[in-house]
Subunit: 389 residues, 2 copies
């Protein structure tokens, strides 16, 4: 499916018609870490399953950098299946026959929640870089306001991978009494120097595109597609393991058995990356990419608690299950171990599973039976402990 | 030191006045793997020390992707010390009091050797993308022609790191009787899918810059500086280890103790990377970057020998010393081990040293006493075996 620049613009500024939208007026600002009171604002979300009578069976799914609220339904933009249909659905670890599942587009995103492509009421034009810089805590605050509106006092479980896992940790730290169980996958309590570096290269690629126009491309009718595609290509490499790239592509030539001695996409890996770049720009807003990567870079949960990650979880009654993957070099197991050690130091309840996989960071989105088994076991036990039939 | 676009252009098209230049006329074409006979052509080089009477003490240093011939003298463009002064010089492992050291700019480069910025005699304009795609074997052929002209039958030793190490391997495979000793460092016998992927992102960043002008920027008076800077930033991350980045920068803020909630270079790592990008474009030609990365991507020594790396070295009388670094994830130790296994299978003489270092791929350029000790020991023993006093 190909979207014209206009359709993305229209979609970004209007509501995503296929999602539910919760609106917050001028008297209900989102208080952001940057010191800005954002108002009005809105959050687009999907739900699956039914909230039970005592509202004890709500599960919040937090999406990753380029994910969205369409976790278990076909994506209205790409036409592809929801991004975590393997994890969420009838009979899945997050069983929609048993739980009421909520997934919301993050603040700063581009799928219906207020972000840099939304209209700034002060000017009547897209916010662009006038949108306040977003943090993971802001994302969680926005989700908290949504959960309030839905009348849910306490979430049964908060689950997410990668940036979604950061939100899980932030939920547990910010609202310990509102999270019964927490499942951060392939996550970290702070973004590493290497990860900040990769994000910065991606942002510079976007900003180097003259069609970015200092962020004002929607107003000027351009799109920094080339820069955003380069950013996505670079990022995509970090989501896969060297082993997975070798297995999938090796040094295989594209449609040929010999080199062409040119700068065409000679190798299959080149063609694959170019496709990843091109298809991404059809579905994602460039400024949102800047804002959401920045939010991940700023994330440092210990820094919010005087440098002690354990203090972030002190006295927590939440039960945790932390999952990592052996070949994930973006959020390596050592990052998950740091979380587990902090939870232990805080005397929290925590299980830890390192899944043997050669698929790299993206493993959390893929068919990983050991991950599903661990998630199912943890969620089922927690549900029984909470009396969810 | 800042160079204007004009000065880079002038330098690329003229000779580097600070280097020796060997010229090859219309009757002495360089026969390239792409099937092109390049003529006329020239190769810019530096020498250090004195060639002995029986011409047995010549050492060839092969430079890496963005290196040049200025291995042990101050670089005339940047004003900085030579890139391997720690390895090459009086009393260094490659002792210029003992050996006659040659280092040449690669074919396709931009420091005086013929490359895409050189004038195409057919048009009187810069070659740009009309320059034939270059391979590592082409680089070695060009060096071979230089060595012939210098009247050197057999090199005492060929040494290089990274892409330089690829050339070392190619020398040993292409001219086994002309290489007494070979020292490939942080190298591989073929470029991996992940490495091709990183290079492709860099090339796409250059080509996405509208000032690249389909490669014709010199003619049109532009410079794809932004794209090339993004390419360099991304590549630079791969030269360092996660540990080195963490130790050097961590999550330290730039000149401040708190985030600015902006897209400025808030973290020190961002400021450092931006500097790497900006300073690189002052000294390197964008099209050369495309050509030289492509040469690395195409490198697959086993493929040249029916898929058997051992066959590349069959019957070799060369003595090898292979060095890798524990934290090098771009050319990991497993790549070096594959070389060693092939050399063993070919019954070649080989020593292998894996240096414990947390500095990543760039360790070969840095102060690594264990590397110097291994190189000194290997070179000294080989020199004594060859009767070099």
């Amino acid at each position: 499916m190909t979207l014209s620049p206009l359709s993305l613009e229209a979609r970004s500024q209007a509501d995503d018609p296929s999602s539910l939208v919760m609106r917050f007026g001028a008297d209900e600002p989102l208080m952001m870490d940057a010191g800005i009171a954002l108002a009005p604002w809105q959050i687009a979300y999907q739900t699956y399953g039914t909230l039970n009578a005592d509202k004890s069976n709500a599960v919040l799914i937090c999406h990753a950098l380029t994910g969205d609220q369409h976790v278990a339904n076909d994506n209205p933009v790409t036409g592809k299946p929801g991004w975590w249909r393997t994890m969420v659905g009838p009979g899945r670890p997050v069983d929609t026959n048993r739980f009421f599942v909520i997934c919301a587009n993050v603040i700063g995103g581009c799928m219906g929640t207020t972000g840099p492509a939304s209209t700034d009421p002060a000017t009547g034009q897209p916010y662009a870089l006038n949108f306040p810089v977003v943090t993971i805590r802001d994302m969680v605050r926005a989700q908290g306001a949504l959960i309030d509106r839905l009348g849910i006092e306490s979430l049964f479980c908060v689950i997410g991978g990668s940036m979604g896992g950061m939100q899980v940790l932030q939920w547990a730290a910010s609202y310990p009494h509102r999270v019964f169980a927490a499942l951060p996958i392939a996550a970290a309590a702070r973004h590493s120097a290497q990860n900040i570096a990769f994000h910065e290269v991606g942002r510079q690629a976007v900003m180097a595109d003259p069609d970015w126009r200092g962020g004002r491309y929607l107003l000027e009718g351009t799109r920094p597609s080339k820069g955003l595609a380069v950013a996505r290509m670079g990022a995509h490499i970090t989501y896969l393991s060297e082993m997975a790239l070798h297995r999938k592509f090796g040094r295989n030539f594209q449609d040929r058995s010999a080199p062409t001695f040119s700068f065409d996409a000679d190798f299959q890996i080149e063609s694959y990356l170019r496709y990843q770049g091109i298809s991404f720009v059809e579905r994602f807003d460039a400024n949102s990419y800047l804002y959401v990567t920045r939010a991940m870079d700023y994330f440092d949960l210990a820094a919010e608690h005087g440098g002690s990650l354990a203090r972030a979880f002190q006295g927590s009654g939440t039960r945790f299950c932390v999952i990592s993957f052996t070949s994930d070099w973006l959020f390596p197991t050592s990052d998950s171990r740091a979380i587990v050690h902090a939870l232990n130091a805080a005397a929290a309840s925590v299980a830890f599973v390192e899944v043997e996989s050669d698929k790299g960071h993206d493993a959390f989105l893929l068919d990983e039976p050991e991950m599903f088994a661990a998630a199912y076991g943890f969620i089922d036990a927690a549900a029984r402990a909470r009396g969810i039939p």
